[in-house]
């Protein structure tokens, strides 16, 4: 009964406000989530996030900010409309609509006051703006996600978990979820009036408060205003104010417009009509006046009370202003310092692009190679090496104008960038070492200049680093659609914490590229191999060094036609039909290993060595049975079986004809058999009687004749002949 009585005691206007909040909980939160659903969202995060697009990242540019806005465009629109209504009507969003602040308030109001903590006595304005500055400036810099203390995740997830959503449960029982739940309980449910989170931590509230204060100074805006002449100083409004925005100064209520939410509760409880939510009447002049005496003076409503302390000394200092000033000063200097520091991080510290960005910087060297010294700056900066300064690779260049040959590059060198997880300098040393031990190991990994491309193209049989790797963009334009689907996911998932174009370009792009290339289609992988191995003229010239004898020998036909014979195998044909169950070159030649480590099949360490084949074939769950000894015969299957290749291909490569294939066996066995059969039948025909020929019954002949041809077997015929004779006889 006490509860019903309590509800009855609620002022009528406040009941409507609570209904508003309940309705917006239904509109915004699971299980219905009508409003987020209307824009294709299922919560208030992602594109509806209102709380993080304005975060400051050191060195962020206008572009980064624009990107943030474009990611959370719904949130931006929502926030803008909140600000506009706030400017004209006070913080109606916070008090009447915001379900995230409203829900804890309702819960708190329904709980017994005995359990509650009183926060309204704390100096809320300095705390709020101090935290706001930390939230906007320091947390992104320190890499703390803005979402860690966000009620806009916690409250919707709480609803979600109670409506049976598994994601809600998962979030609530994560570390961040539990921390947020604690915040919700301490600053919400068990806070007096339940608005402590709004008072201290909500960034939207902090900005909204500033707009509220700004608008309060104008006459035409609706605000909670006090008529100082009517106020009796009874304190009832201050006691009921849920945000603690009303203070008694000299026994007169003063509204702090930075904190006031225009919830109108003070209006409802004031017995003297000394406080109201209104715009100032257009004409404030009393209508009847006599010698400066007002008859029926109209009330002078005040939204912002300007305190004029009369005492001198330290007490006369408005400490709130000092603290806010310090916060503002520190924030501005923080932005300035970080911006200046960020600008020092130049993309081209050595000024190479002063010349090399010029278009058409070409010459023809004495060997006739067209040398193009122009580096497409835009391409370079968005490429994999975009953050590596030129000098890190072109180490010999120390002075201007540099000698052409000093441009030499060694891929195994380390550069001055640090790999974030290990803190070590980036280097391609490990893959280079692996590569050097591989069958391609004689390929170049250092001494690269633009000019020696000619020598490499014409004389080198092994691939160098640069033959397969050019300075490619993070994302190949062809892969852009694939990337975009992955990327849109990133924007909402990774991107909700890691903001900024710089991040998206560098790390997001980098990481995603790794993901994508890990999912690189097998066909793409094969294309890389085929770049050389499908070129038969090129393959013909290759000589392989025997590891034991150190002698070089020309490659055999099987090597030259490897690409063709692979294409005819089931592995290749499946891939050709876009069936990812097919197997690429790399799948067998370096299964699960460093891709640079391809070995000759004669090397004992090679995955295609006889001894290792059973392991290779069973790798990644393909032919697992091969690991059993009894099935090891399976590994005799020739994956580069030349017998599948059309004959004319073989004739092309006949100059290195080696009959080491099944054809040889075929000829040795089949030809004599055919000759025997043909000549035998000819000879037989000479001596046999003319007449009906009967199929030889060598083995199972009777059964065959009887059941398949439908002719009576010879023996039966003989028998029937006998019986016929007997019958006749």
């Amino acid at each position: 009964m006490n509860f019903i009585q309590k509800i009855k005691n609620i002022p009528k206007e406040q009941k409507y406000r609570y209904l508003f909040i309940i309705a917006s909980c239904l509109l915004f939160f699971a299980p219905f989530a009508f409003i987020p659903g209307a824009v294709g969202n299922d919560d208030l995060c992602g594109k509806m996030c209102m709380r993080r697009f304005f975060l400051y990242f050191p060195g962020m540019s206008q572009d980064d900010f624009n990107t943030n806005i474009s990611i959370a465009w719904m949130g931006v629109i929502l926030l803008a409309s909140i600000f506009i209504t706030t400017f004209f009507y006070g913080r109606l969003w916070c008090s009447y609509i915001c379900p995230v602040g409203g829900f804890p308030e309702l819960v708190s109001r329904s709980l017994n006051d005995r359990w509650k903590i009183e926060y309204r006595s704390l100096p809320q304005v300095p705390i709020r703006y101090g935290y706001f500055a930390v939230y906007i400036l320091l947390m992104p810099t320190l890499g703390i996600s803005a979402c860690t203390l966000c009620n806009f995740i916690t409250v919707p997830r709480l609803f979600e978990s109670f409506s049976g959503g598994i994601r809600g449960f998962a979030f609530i029982f994560s570390t961040i979820g539990l921390v947020n739940l604690a915040l919700l309980l301490l600053l919400g449910f068990f806070a007096s009036k339940g608005r402590a989170y709004c008072q201290f931590l909500c960034p939207i509230g902090a900005m909204d408060g500033l707009i509220n204060l700004l608008g309060a100074k104008l006459r035409f805006t609706r605000r909670i205003r006090v008529e100082r002449d009517r106020c009796t100083g009874c304190n009832i409004c201050a006691r009921n104010c849920m945000t603690g925005a009303i203070k008694m100064v000299d026994k007169i209520a003063v509204v702090d417009q930075l904190s006031c939410m225009s919830c109108n509760e003070c209006v409802n409880v004031c017995d003297w009509h000394a406080i109201d939510w209104l715009a100032l009447p257009p004409d404030n002049q009393p209508k009847r006046k006599k010698k400066g005496i007002d008859f029926h003076p109209l009330p002078e409503w005040e939204a912002v009370h300007i305190e004029k302390p009369e005492t001198k000394g330290l007490k006369s200092v408005n400490w709130q202003r000092v603290i806010l000033g310090v916060i503002l000063g520190i924030s501005i200097s923080f932005i300035l310092i970080t911006q200046v520091q960020a600008k020092q991080r130049q993309t081209d510290p050595d000024g190479c692009f002063a010349c090399h960005a010029l278009e058409g910087l070409e010459y023809i060297d004495n060997k006739g190679v067209l040398r193009n010294s122009t580096i497409n700056q835009q391409h370079y900066l968005s490429s994999l090496h975009g953050s590596v300064p030129c000098k890190d690779c072109h180490r010999k260049i120390k002075d201007f104008p540099h000698k052409v040959e000093n441009g030499e590059v060694d891929c195994s060198e380390s550069c001055h960038l640090e790999e974030p997880s290990e803190g070590e300098a980036y280097t391609h040393k490990k893959p280079t070492e692996v590569f050097e031990k591989s069958t391609h190991g004689e390929g170049w990994s250092k001494g690269f200049t633009g000019g020696n491309r000619l020598e490499e193209s014409e004389k080198q049989q092994n691939p160098s680093c640069r033959l397969c790797h050019s300075n490619s963009l993070y994302i190949d334009p062809e892969k852009m659609p694939e990337f975009k689907t992955a990327f849109s996911h990133t924007e909402t998932e990774c991107g909700s914490c890691h903001k900024g174009k710089t991040w998206l370009n560098r790390f997001g792009g980098h990481i995603l590229r790794r993901f994508l290339s890990a999912q690189q289609s097998k066909e793409d992988e094969n294309k890389m191999c085929d770049n050389c191995h499908a070129d038969k003229e090129r393959m013909k010239k290759i000589e392989i060094k025997d590891k034991e004898t150190q002698k070089k020998h020309k490659v055999d036909k099987k090597f030259i036609l490897a690409s063709d014979s692979y294409a005819m195998s089931l592995h290749g044909r499946l891939l050709a039909n876009d069936n990812e169950d097919g197997v690429s070159c790399i799948d067998c030649h370096t299964p699960g290993k460093e891709k640079h480590a391809i070995q000759n099949h004669m090397d004992t360490g090679s995955s295609t060595h006889k001894e290792n084949l059973s392991k290779t074939c069973s790798a990644s769950g393909c032919h697992q049975f091969t690991e059993k000894f009894i099935n090891s015969g399976f590994t005799n299957t020739d994956m580069h079986d030349l017998d599948f290749i059309p004959v004319y291909e073989k004739i092309i490569t006949s100059e290195v004809l080696n009959f080491n294939t099944g054809w040889k066996v075929f000829l040795v066995i089949a030809v004599p058999v055919i000759i025997l059969l043909v000549s035998g039948s000819l000879i037989w025909s000479l001596f046999s009687k003319q007449g009906k020929s009967v199929i030889f019954s060598i083995f199972g002949g009777n059964h065959f004749q009887k059941h398949i041809i439908g002719r009576k077997p010879k023996s039966v015929i003989k028998k029937t002949k006998k019986t016929n004779k007997q019958q006749k006889g």
Partner: protein, 240 residues
């Protein structure tokens, strides 16, 4: 059938109308005297000349992404023999000079006859209107283009006589073709300076901002600091 011949004959006339018979350059070639000393030099050059085939699109592609120069469909006389990247002697400047060939025709720098006032205008080297225009600064004399393209009668005549010619005749022809030209073009600072540029940039419709940029460009001034080929600058020197 008749139609076909009619079109051919019309086309023949068209080409005659389109190509002016003489320009300032061809006139000067006809008039140019044959200097004996220079002739010997030309003979030597022709004898020592070895053809270098342009090697582009190598099997090993360049590491950095490179944008190809868009080909123009009009081929100037110079490019009949010279490559599109003609400068190769001065190792330091060659790339920068070759860069200018995208914006400036050869004759602008190498054909500066005495006592003749030339005007400079932009000329589109692409006759195909579908292609993006490739405009280059080109000398004009009496509102006529000084330079000639490979479809000019003069070029065909030169080509024919070159194929038949002996070494001596080739040398003479080469000498005559090059006599009106200056082997050494202007220095960087002759154009990239504040006062007396060779080209009137304003009449070439450069914006004031661009003019200032061209006049005060860092690279020409940087080159002007070098007297010797082997001279190098440490990075720390630049900062001082």
């Amino acid at each position: 059938m008749h139609m076909k011949y009619l079109i051919y004959t019309l086309l023949l006339f068209l080409s005659v109308f389109a190509v002016k018979a003489t320009t300032l350059y061809t006139q000067q070639v006809e008039l140019s005297p044959v200097n004996d000393k220079k002739l010997q030099q030309a003979i030597k050059q022709i004898k020592e000349h070895s053809e270098v085939n342009l090697k582009d699109n190598l099997f090993v592609s360049p590491f950095h992404k490179q944008t190809k120069n868009q080909p123009t469909d009009k081929k100037p006389l110079c490019n009949v023999c010279h490559q599109k990247q003609p400068h190769s002697l001065d190792k330091r400047k060659r790339s920068f000079l070759n860069m200018h060939t995208r914006y400036i025709s050869c004759e602008t720098c190498h054909f500066i006859p005495k006592n003749t006032q030339l005007k400079y205008k932009w000329l589109n080297f692409n006759s195909d209107s579908n292609k993006t225009p490739a405009k280059r600064i080109t000398p004009f004399y009496n509102d006529e283009v000084v330079i000639i393209f490979s479809d000019h009668k003069f070029v065909e005549k030169v080509k024919q006589s070159w194929d038949k010619a002996t070494t001596l005749e080739k040398a003479k022809l080469k000498l005559r073709l090059h006599t009106p030209l200056n082997a050494d073009g202007p220095e960087c600072l002759d154009c990239h300076n504040n006062k007396n540029q060779l080209l009137d940039l304003e009449s070439l419709k450069f914006s004031r901002k661009d003019i200032k940029k061209l006049q005060q460009h860092a690279i020409p001034r940087f080159f002007s600091r070098f007297k010797k080929e082997e001279q190098r600058l440490r990075m720390t020197d630049l900062l001082q």
